[in-house]
């Protein structure tokens, strides 16, 4: 039974795969979803971390 969030993630993956022209075979879907789920959970740990609007990213382009 998929939770609503899990269902949304599956829909997101389907849409993203279509937009990115990235074929995902049925047998790969669960693993892709599992990896994206972990990745977004980890991402939440630093996206919620307060940084000033002026914060610069680490890479600095030199013209």
């Amino acid at each position: 039974m998929e939770t609503p969030r899990s269902n949304e993630l599956a829909q997101f993956i389907q849409a993203a795969a279509c937009l990115l022209d990235l074929p995902i075979e049925p047998a790969w879907k669960d693993a892709v979803k599992g990896h994206l789920e972990v990745t977004l959970r980890l991402a939440a740990s630093f996206t919620e971390f307060p940084l000033p609007d002026e914060a610069e990213p680490a890479p600095v382009f030199v013209a």
């Binding site: 993956i13 790969w28 972990v38 977004l40 980890l42 991402a43 630093f46 610069e56």
Partner: protein, 463 residues
Amino acid sequence: MDTGWSHAADIAAAVREGRVSATVVATDTIARIARLNPAINAFTDILKERALAKAQAIDHTRSQAGSLGPLAGVPFAVKNLFDIAGLPTLAGSKINRERAPATRDAAAVRRLEAAGAVLVGALNMGEYAYDFTGENVHYGDCRNPHDLARMPGGSSSGSGAAVAGGLVPLSLGSDTNGSIRVPSSFCGIFGLKPTYGRLSRAGTFPFVASLDHVGPLARSARDLALAYDAMQGPDADDPVCADRPVERVTPLLGQGIGGLRIALAGGYFRVGVFPELRTALARIAAALSVKAEIEFPEAQRARAAAYVITASEGAAVHLDPLRRRGRDFDPAVRDRLIAGAMIPGAVVAKAQKFRRWYRAHVLEMFEHWDAVLAPATPCSAPALGQQTFVLDKVEMALRPNIGIYTQPISFVGLPVVAVPVAVDPLPVAVQIIAAPWREDIALRIAHALERTGVATAPRPPLE
């Protein structure tokens, strides 16, 4: 001399002094690889003709009283993501087998050979370096010389196993999130991940441009220093390679460690550590009289940000082949790359902003400390095929979590020497972490630990 277990420095000295010829060393090495590699599977290519030609040239130079380099006659091998002229650069993949052969050696290979080293082969690795295990579905799993049923660690699996098994005294690997330090731990050898931007990556197949480093693996700290010194220097072919002069470390190794302020990494780096690593850390800390414990600020978030940048940039490298030939990837790598391609850009940008914040706070920490000790892996080498392990009482996927203690360090490019400690059931390594551009400090500590016998690369019973 026992060329199968001699240090690079001793081989070079013997070749320079005429006690052994480079040709004999190369011939012995090729024969040993042929004998031991079928069990370990560390090599994907053996370069017999090239190695013998180079060795003969070194012997000829010596016979003409020409000057020989600091690595004269030292056999070495490289992870197969380094370009080797005449071979396609596999990066552990099936897909890259179709690439045109490289027309030139990677910069690091050229610099080691200019110092007299002799390239003897290309080494197995996890596909596209997205791996901590050493398993490879295309070329077969690389095996740990200390226990052939166990993982050598990855992604520089062959680089760790070839050195630990005595096939070569020196190898090159790459480290994006721990890929030099994890095999150093599982195989019980020394590994150096230099400062981000210190050594040229030109002529290597990329994984994550923001995080990729190259470095040496060996059975002594001096050998790391010799190889590192030979590879230093700016290189316009790698835009990340810093415009810094060569800062040789080998002459500094004997300075000792008096006056250095060394602490143990606490908090995040103490959670989930297996008993063998706790023993190793305690031995290293005791040998260095280290009592202070400090915390890397927000290490958990740093690891998470490294994970996200890796997934996103890694996916970008492989987007086109993922579209056309997903079935030709290792499934364990492919599914992570596909997921990585779907990470929202804003999240990745935020990870890079967090990275600058973290860097500033870590640098502040290093104003008070010269070096910090941390485990290189949570545990000693797991069994090949093992899928999960119990970390802090929670069963977790093994593959992505072996690098939890290495990722927050490479995330901000700090130099690290992994030093091996011979504990049961298998050797493991401890990270000696220094401030950016202070490889000298980490190598001096590693050398001092080696001299006391606390850090040592144990010889596996292979022959």
